[in-house]
């Protein structure tokens, strides 16, 4: 199934080179858990905020077709 990965702030450096927006579509196995997908990303997870469709995911949450998995660094300010 397809989900979108969205990377914000300086995590945009981890976007695929040909990606002109902040997000890209990717194929994951059906019933993939959030943790499984995160493990495959080149992002320092311990300093990140992780959201699924704008909300904090539950531990072990299973992704669904079309979900947006968003990561940004825990920085704050504004």
């Amino acid at each position: 199934m397809k989900i979108r990965i969205k990377l914000l702030a300086h995590y945009q450096q981890y976007l695929p080179p040909d990606c002109s927006s902040s997000s890209y579509e990717t194929e994951v196995p059906p019933d993939a858990r959030v943790e499984d997908v995160l493990a495959g990303l080149p992002v320092p997870l311990e300093e990140s905020v992780v959201l699924v469709n704008g909300r904090t995911p539950q531990p072990g949450q299973v992704l669904r077709e079309g979900d947006v998995l968003c990561l940004f660094p825990a920085i704050g300010g504004g």
């Binding site: 969205k6 914000l8 702030a9 300086h10 945009q12 450096q13 927006s21 902040s22 300093e47 990140s48 905020v49 959201l51 469709n53 704008g54 909300r55 904090t56 968003c70 940004f72 660094p73 825990a74 920085i75 704050g76 300010g77 504004g78």
Partner: protein, 609 residues
Amino acid sequence: MYGWNGRILRVNLTTGETSVEEVDPRMARDFIGGRGWAIRYLYDEMDPQVDPLSPENKLVFATGPLTATPVPTGNRYMVVTKSPLTGALSCSNSGGFFPTEMKRTGFDLFIFEGRAERPVYLWVNDDRVEIRPADHVWGRTVFETEDMLRAETDPRARVACIGPAGERLAPIAAILNEKHRAAARSGVGAVMGSKNLKAVVVRGTRRVPLAHPKELKALADQVVEEVKQAVAAGKATLRTYGTAYVPPVTNEVGILPTYNFRTGVFAGAEAISGRTLNQKYLIRPKACYGCPIACGRVTRVEDPVFGGEGEGPEYETIGSLGSACGVDNLAAITKANYICNELGLDTISAGVTIACAMEMYELGLIPESDIGRPLRFGDGEAVVEMVRLAGLREGFGDLIAQGSYRLASHYGHPEYSMSAKKQEFPAYDPRGAKGMGLLYATSNIGASHMAGDTAYMEVFGVPKKVDPLSWEDKPRLVKYFEDIFTIIDAAGLCVFLSIRYLFEPTYNVEPVRISRLMEYATGAGYDEETLLKAGERVYNLERMFLVRAGFSRADDTLPPRMLHEPMPEGPAKGHVVELDRMLPEYYRLRGWDENGVPTPEKRAELGLP
């Protein structure tokens, strides 16, 4: 004294007399400095019921004990006075270089009283204090005023001044220093204008005395090193994008103010982000004095309509002059920002007031003939024109300059004003971050993120993420954040660095390092507990000022939209702010009665009158 200079300068503008006063060491310690000392003087000396624009109001410029020390971001000052926008307290904060220079004159505070007969400016060159005529700069923009006054005093001097908006007593007028740094909120610029005080110019060469300079330097260096390492590791979000990195983040959680806070989801969030700013307009990042972060933006826009050069925009400006007005044109937002700086306006209040006017225009509640043009959401050119008119208080701009509450009330519909205590919301829709809702409602300065930004935890995950949509845990969080923001302000530091580097390292929001820095600077006996207590003491005294000014529980509220209109879409869909559930618990935790008044027991505990 150490850390503090221990001296304040009192300027009576009516008589033209100035005097120097020593500071009581006990008061110094118990109220920290900056914002804390300022409220102590205001509370003792002034009737909180006075007209904010009368000579009876006092205006305080206040640096803190860590201002102008080696502590990174020790570059802030606070402007504290009774606000013409809210009728409550103003505590507006600015950085840059003016505050450091001011502290180096050897004074911690300037207290302005009365009203000058003719326009004047204050020139403080170390110990030499002069009140000088300012007729020649009256009517000038902020940029012109700064250049002219430096030329006639000292090219190394620093200037804080008002523009036409402050002179014309706009309740949303700001005080600008170094042209682009603003003590922006609550109409502090109008108070300056009402006193016929155009500018304050400082040149200081004194070093701040420190109790334990070696220890202070070592810890300060360690913090700087940590920031540098983060930068070297490619983790420099604020330096790379400024706070303009935020719109896509708040949009993702559904709280980016859009169409006057009708919704928190904006289709143009990417177009107004730091990424766009970098691609199109950024010249270089810029730091305040002693800051390793450098979140400031030097920018240039090449555009036939919106061209210009200056600094900004930062997130709050983008959220108010941009998405709140439905504008996704970053050139227009940046241009409007430049004009606000030039004429001396608060970008947040200006933007949210224009957004309010746009909504009311589209609903047919404001006739086009009053405005003199259509005023639809998304029209960047209209925003730029409205900002210019507001800064000069011309035409429809006269109403904009008074803020959204007065504008909306003028047309019989105050409910379209997205404000608390008449001060416009910053750029977080509180329906999707409940702590911010409670903060806006209870804040002593009206809606403000600088009063205790719980979005750090609710949105940004600093120091850890909490659920923005829950309300049960928020009264405790809000109280705590208000108290620690009070400490940061009073100490004279910038929040951006302090929250991340001075309240951990173990990723607890405990004031470990900041209390050590305070002790190294002052030697006054601070530890974590006494510092937190002092923050709470200051916050409570500010509240007592409000109580004496006539504020009560009825004023600790939010517009009906936040309380009754569920967020229509996005991650916060269906949510309102559960204020009536949070407020009683918040009062209880604060030790305030059911009317929001500090109880005698609480006051006794804090040593307050």
